[in-house]
Symmetry: C2
């Protein structure tokens, strides 16, 4: 379902990134970089992720000179089981919390819900947050990094960081113009080392429905941006859409290929994790929109619903993608 | 944050329950009972939960004589890591999906979001769903049942089933009048065998804010109903609220004590799992409201954010509760 919005704006954002992101091409755009280690001043990777998420919220609230009680909701989720980073981080705030999970499309789902709340005059200010942590994801979904397991070249590298965005009904220079909620897709793929292939179908479905619902062509946007398809998933998406007569080859990129430089960094097919699209959108892309490089941008974070338990039961991996349209005004 | 609603109604519900629920006191109120085994015609417990959740949605859509395209969103979540039951079940539908996680308070969070969407005129029909499965929860959070681990008497028993509710803007005999979003609480408790104690503080906080925001007393409601505090958590909540001058001792019960009969069934402190409050609300309670036994009901499902990883790291267990107010009209 595609919703149009007339009263939803981006007030500000706060981004926190780590070592790989510091070494990537857009490191100048982050609000805070912690690249001493992966612990962020805590004693476990999970607590580091929690603290990054918490800090991204508190520092955003400070940045816009507000206090907890000015924020109607925080909507957040992450990759940890029980979205633990978000739930634990929210102990630090006296703000109503709605926990969401859409794998690496979580940030877009949060913006979708928050924008609907604001458009419906249900509230004035919503913070949407997400995080990911390379070491947390490795030991939960793959192998602890210490094992030194080899990787396939189609594997992506989970980004480390947190991003928060403040949505508001007060006019700003970035408007959220519309959004399309995802429908779960499953093409029967079960290769956990090729999530780009798993998720490309979800991005294709959401982009097609978005363009159809609004009666626009792909070139309506100066930039279409998927979340973390990586270099191979990106090719697959272009092919999928070509089959439907949609050409995005000229105005399309993937956040996973913007956050890291595959030629210089050991990041396989690119960056992944809910934080990838959130970091890229909330730093580099919004900045370029404000600078006039892009006027209309469609961000389509993609999520693979990878469950280790289900994989052992020989289930394939479903995926979903939500689309958010932004406009510099 | 407490929101008042003027245009949100319950169109209908569909409930599916299993063996323990069949043997409990309200078994006559469920739409479907499958008590042959815990597999529900599949070959794993996880696939059984997925199929129950999927069936609760498809059978609800059939019951109200609609089709997929009449439903604007399904909002769902469950206890499985990556809310896998919901995500996998949603492969069966061509309906936009928003995945949520608030542990055993998930159903209330879904109703909160769905009601806001409808009230804001963002859509007309939302299905909110949740599920839980005893064997799935045991092996994910505790020990596989086959191990025969002993239980403390403060332990609750995760219910098995799925429930779906259709919210609509079309007037019906059950109105959702208001709702309060939860704020994460943490009193430093880390006893995984006493979730009632963990969650009572969250219920107390949400009930207090709900009553304060609406300027009403606890006796405004004919019935206040928590989700799965169990027999000990129930006592703790009554004490917590007494300290704030709020007496709920006369009009309060817990869904975990309605779904099962502790005197006749081996269920320790009562039922738990997101499905407990969803099953009780969507079957017995709504029926009693329609029959005139209760006019105003406040349902307050509670969730403990129990993460095994965090427990090994000596973290305490945060909790949250969301409140939904319903009225028979």
């Amino acid at each position: 379902m595609t919703k149009k919005f007339n009263n939803v704006y981006v007030a500000d954002t706060y981004t926190i990134a780590s070592i790989y992101e510091k070494n990537g091409p857009i490191s100048n755009y982050f609000d805070l970089i912690y690249n001493k280690d992966f612990y962020y001043g805590t004693d476990t990777f999970e607590k580091a992720e929690e603290k990054m998420l918490s800090n991204s919220i508190s520092k955003l609230i400070n940045k816009v000179k507000l206090v907890d009680s000015d924020i109607d909701y925080v909507i957040a989720g992450d990759l940890e089981n029980q979205i633990a980073a978000s739930n634990y981080a929210m102990r630090d705030f006296n703000i109503p919390f709605l926990g969401i999970f859409s794998a690496c499309a979580t940030f877009a789902e949060g913006i979708y819900i928050g924008a609907n709340f604001i458009e419906g005059k249900g509230c004035k200010r919503v913070i949407v947050s997400t995080s990911s942590h390379n070491m947390v994801a490795e030991r939960q979904f793959r192998n602890p990094t210490e094992y030194g397991a080899l990787k396939k070249k189609t594997t992506t590298l989970t980004s480390t960081g947190a991003a928060s965005i403040l949505l508001t009904s007060t006019k700003s220079n970035i408007k959220i113009t519309s959004a399309t909620a995802g429908i779960v897709q499953d093409k029967g793929i079960s290769d956990v080392n090729n999530m780009g292939a798993v998720m490309a179908i979800a991005a294709a479905d959401t982009i097609k429905r978005h363009l159809n619902d609004l009666h626009i062509n792909a070139d309506y946007y100066d930039l279409i941006l998927t979340g973390d398809l990586g270099v191979y998933g990106k090719e697959i998406l272009i092919e999928y859409l070509k089959e439907s007569g949609i050409d995005i080859s000229l105005n399309y990129d993937d956040c996973g290929l913007i956050l890291y430089d595959r030629k210089k960094q050991p990041v396989y097919a690119g960056a992944s994790g809910p934080c990838s699209s959130a970091l890229v959108l909330c730093s580099y892309i919004l900045n370029e929109m404000k600078q006039g490089k892009y006027k209309k941008v469609l961000v389509v974070p993609t999520g693979a619903i990878f469950s280790a338990t289900r994989l052992f039961q020989k289930s394939s991996i479903p995926s979903i993608a939500h689309a958010i349209a932004l406009e510099a005004i």
